[in-house]
Symmetry: C2
Subunit: 119 residues, 2 copies
DNA sequence: ATGATACTTAAGTGATTACTTAACTATAAA
DNA sequence: TTTATAGTTAAGTAATCACTTAAGTATCAT
């Protein structure tokens, strides 16, 4: 479970750039060529290709070349890996809050039942 | 909806470092001091404080100082913001696949009903 | 008051990023 | 067979990153 960490590094790092998120967003609406991905971005084609490489190394996107056109798609399983990491932590925290809430209710009930008797 | 992007930049970037993920993970189990957070990490205290600053600027963590001790907590709402961005994209993609599946089933049905009649 | 604790601030460094331009390589079209 | 298209490769650069060590500054305990 140490290789997992490097994979998460790469995924979150890939998602940390606005241009790359635009690319991912575009790919959720269906496959796209490199030029398609470049169209809404105010940067050179090589820059887009470099972003694409980051996305591919992260496992979030894969692509294949047919003739002179490269077609890119998202890998939803990878998207899920990143999502799950966050969800697990959030869940642990929320369960903790639930338990805390129960304890507080118990204390409150205890105080009510005790009120006026002792002291 | 342009400021949102910078916030996501900061959040995903914050989560892209293994040391910071260890810190977040620790904080889901309850509040911790700076030294608590530093304990499992093989780096100097100032380095930990710098990571903490990244986490605070991202909104994922906040902290307050009492006496000489700084107590840190996670902000689950921020955690959810990052989680939701991913979940939304994944959902768009999955709905797309569903529609695609329907279309394929229709085509399949069409082909079956047509088989042997024409051609 | 003195020392130990819990950070904090500042400054420096090597590595990595996110670009750029220029030059190149296939493939497809005219 | 020339010419345009789609992408690739290489090299350079300014900015940001993830640390480090050294030297603080408040608190708290004795």
């Amino acid at each position: 479970m140490q290789a997992q960490s490097a994979a998460l590094d790469r995924m979150f790092h890939a998602l940390a750039d606005p241009a790359r998120r635009v690319m991912v967003d575009r790919l959720t609406r269906g496959p796209a060529t490199v030029s398609d991905l470049a169209k809404p971005l105010a940067m050179s084609l090589p820059a887009v290709v470099q972003h694409l490489q980051v996305l591919e190394l992260s496992g979030l996107v894969y692509s294949e070349k047919n003739g002179r056109v490269r077609t890119c798609r998202i890998e939803p399983k990878a998207l899920r890996t990143a999502e799950d990491w966050i969800a697990e932590r959030r869940t642990v925290w929320e369960r903790r809050l639930d338990r805390l809430g129960e304890v507080l209710l118990e204390i409150e009930a205890e105080e009510k039942s005790t009120k006026g008797r002792t002291k």
